[in-house]
Amino acid sequence: MVVGAGTVGAACALYAARAGLEVILVDRGPVAGGTTGAGEGNLLVSDKEPGPELRLALLSLRLWQELARDGLARAFEYEAKGGLVVASTPDALASLTDLAAGQRAAGVDAVPVDAHELRDLEPHLAAGLAGGMLYPQDAQVMPALAAAHLVRASGARLETGRTVTRILRGPDGAVRGVRTDRGDLRAPAVVNAAGTWGGDVAALAGVALPVLPRRGFVLVTEPLPPRVRHKVYAADYVADVASDSAALQTSPVVEGTAAGPVLVGASRERVGFDRSFSLPAVRALAAGATRLFPFLEHVRAMRAYAGFRPYMPDHLPAVGPDPRVPGLFHACGHEGAGIGLATGTGLLIAQCLAGGSPELDLSPLRPDRFDDPGHPDRHTEEAAPWIR
């Protein structure tokens, strides 16, 4: 039983079905009605530091490629267009180069691009940049179509318009299914893929899972002839005097789409579920985009939309079995990378469900890690330097 028909739930359903399990996918709304329908579909390795998230990203990208090769590429608009990260100053370029060295060691392709070569890759890029890094593995999908087509390919029994109100547990504490507003559904295993609402679903089983909303805006322009070829964003070197740390800060990703509009996204704010328009956030997006591509100044934004990323205090998702509740699995909290990380998450969950050992070490993603009083991120809020 997978709760949540976003991209993550859809991928869990697909790989679980492929592992030979019978799958029911339940969602209170339609397919892709949650954050999946409110974000972008960047599948990135370029923005991740070496560590568990990058390992999950590399696995996921490989799986996205396989799905695309299996004939789904057109259905969910898969494009392996590559990412181009540019640096405006020599300092920023130096830290980008450092980051890339670490990423390369972890298995990422990262190709340095000299200042004078940037325009060969992106003819409309601003002048005067110090250089950049090309990440050929970065790709993209259309998230809502991806979710819909993964669900369809899974052959899972789809139960939309049903809200899970309780996780049913037997006398031994083990999961037996879910109660919904339209009757019970029985299953010996429940996967919590409820995204930003993952904490609420965990609470239905009586366990804590700190998933919180982080708002993001995306800008969509009028349709244009293709002018932006890669996913392009700026890496800027920021010396934070107060904390004595030097972090690399990124500006919004600018990218063209098959349908013509250019997407600029996304902002990050922790404001709860406030849906009202924020001009400062959107202003920052537009400023970042026009700094990279001056021609965009005269291009119109047709719409701005907001979504709520599911984030956890240490900016890593919860993936795997919950030792506190036998039969309960979590696959949520992917923050700004849930589309990219969906396939790997789905495969790992399926491997756990099938009783095998998952091909990545899941201990850093343990759902109960915040119960540990010694966990460094138990109380911290904002740690990651990535503001995209």
Binding site: A5, G29, P30, V31, A32, G33, G37, A144, L145, A148, H149, V151, R152, L158, T160, G161, L219, V220, T221, E222, P223, A259, P261, V264, D274, R275, S276, F277, L279, V282, R283, L285, A286, A287, A289, T290, L296, E297, H298, V299, R300, A301, M302, R303, A304, Y305, A306
Partner: protein
């Protein structure tokens, strides 16, 4: 130093905005009246384009008197500097800024530069837009919206046809047919989905209601009786033509809401004006985070939204004709003035307007249920190959597939999975049609940018200027 007068920004200079501006300006408030049109008036008092060949405005006597009063009152306030009219300003966003507001507008007609005004409160009087439903042939040249036809005939512009059919549902069809006829078009048929009884009751209600609007109805009925065949409980199921509309197929509506078998007939025409009423403009309100009631901005008895400092009046808060907009605007303007000048608002002061408001809201609610709805089964007439979203060229078949096979279940997911509503109009035209074909509710669209805005403007919006 004199004390600064509080500033109220009124967005929209139709009946609601004008009434609000006058009420507030007379009560110690500085009003900035912002509208996208070159002159005040809104939908209803839209002024004919001056110049040779301009037709006489078709306003009725009482309407002209009201308009003259509004105009004269406005002129007095403009001269005295209590009201500033900023024309050709397309408001794309109202920003909340520590208890005050900044109204950001693109300068028309190019809409490339932005200007901003700061205000202590805002009053949204942005009116409504037309509800359009698709049918086979609706994209042919010569098929126009009822409001579009009305604007053309009022504006004294040349009409795209000589022989017209007016079709659809709702109370606007009569004035539209009248307007077309007065502008020299031969209106051969008025096709109305309401039942004859409802239609007749309607004309009677309009004639007996103290609403001045009734004059219009009587006037229209007289005009139409001369040469238009009025077909109630009928609908247009298809428009035909090669390069433009040449004829339409009309059928009777059966008891089940479907076309009655064997009732088809063709009517030759070169202009088809179709309308299904209006929908409130809520973009700016949604950007501000105001709560909606269904499709309209929710307001209290003083016309306040649930966001402090934001009032709304007129068609943005529900559809009900020019007189209702005037009453609501008046109340909103008085309430805003009282609250901005720190006096307690006194509803007794606007008791007459409040009575008019109650009467007209009741009247239009009844009208809506008796008369306003298209036949329940209209989506069945939309063939799979009919384009339902013109900007993105999405067919009805694609919408149906998204629902049946991909798990779409609301307007938003239909849009995500088909691109319907993602083009230039941002769904303003196609949403009701797409929702109908998809079989889901018409939910508010949350268009956070009320107008397309150049990224250069978004990156560095103009600083607010104090009102001159």
């Amino acid at each position: 130093m004199t004390e600064r007068r509080p500033v109220l920004a009124v967005i929209g200079a139709g009946p609601a905005g004008l009434a609000a501006a006058l009420a507030a300006a007379s009560r110690g408030v500085r009003v900035v009246l912002v509208d996208s049109a070159p002159s005040v008036g809104g939908q209803f008092y839209r002024q004919p384009v001056p110049g040779p060949g301009a037709r006489r405005s078709q306003m009725l006597a009482h309407q002209r008197r009201t308009w003259d009063r509004l105009r004269a009152g406005l002129d007095v306030h403009l001269t005295a500097g209590r009201v500033t009219h900023l024309s050709d300003r397309h408001v794309w966003c109202v920003e909340r800024e520590s208890g005050r507001f900044v109204v950001h507008a693109l300068l028309g007609p190019a809409q490339e530069e932005s200007a901003a005004v700061r205000a202590d409160a805002v009053l949204l009087a942005t009116g409504g837009y037309e509800k359009v439903l698709p049918f086979p042939g609706w994209t042919l040249p010569g098929v126009v919206t009822a409001g579009g036809a009305q604007a053309l005939s009022k504006g004294g512009l040349s009409l795209p046809g000589r022989v017209a059919v007016v079709a659809g549902s709702g109370p606007l069809l009569l004035p539209v047919a009248t307007g077309l006829a007065a502008a020299g078009t031969r209106v051969v048929a008025l096709i109305e989905t309401a039942a004859p009884a409802a239609f007749a009751r309607q004309a009677r209600t309009w004639a007996t209601t103290p609403v001045k609007l009734a004059e219009g109805a009587v006037h229209a009925a007289r005009l139409l009786r001369r040469r238009t065949s009025v077909m109630s409980r009928h609908m247009v199921v298809e428009a035909h033509g090669e390069d433009r509309v040449e004829s339409v197929t009309v059928t009777a509506v059966g008891a089940d809401g479907r076309p009655a078998p064997g009732s088809e007939r063709r009517i030759v025409c070169d202009l088809l004006a179709v309308g299904h009423g209006l929908l409130p403009h809520t973009d700016l309100a949604e950007g501000l985070g105001c709560r909606l009631d269904g499709a309209s901005v929710r307001v209290d008895d003083e016309q306040r939204t649930d966001v402090p400092g934001v009032w709304a009046a007129g068609e943005a808060t529900g559809i009900g004709g020019a007189d209702l907009s005037l009453a609501e605007g008046h109340i909103a303007g008085r309430s805003a003035a009282a609250r901005l000048t720190g006096t307690a608002p006194d509803p007794r002061g606007w008791a007459r307007a409040a009575r008019t408001r109650t009467r007209l809201r009741t009247f239009f609610a009844a009208l809506e249920s008796a008369y306003g709805e298209p036949p329940a089964r209209w989506p069945e007439q939309v063939t799979d190959d009919t384009v339902v979203c013109r900007c993105e060229e999405v067919t009805a078949g694609a919408v149906r597939e998204a629902v049946a096979e991909l798990g779409a279940g609301d307007l938003r997911t239909v849009k995500l999975l088909t691109r319907a509503g993602m083009g230039w109009c941002q769904g303003r035209v196609c949403e009701p049609g797409v929702a109908g074909v998809a079989g889901c509710a018409l939910a508010p669209a949350r268009r956070l940018l009320a107008r397309p805005v150049p990224l250069g403007v978004l990156a560095a919006p103009a600083d607010p200027t104090p009102p001159q």
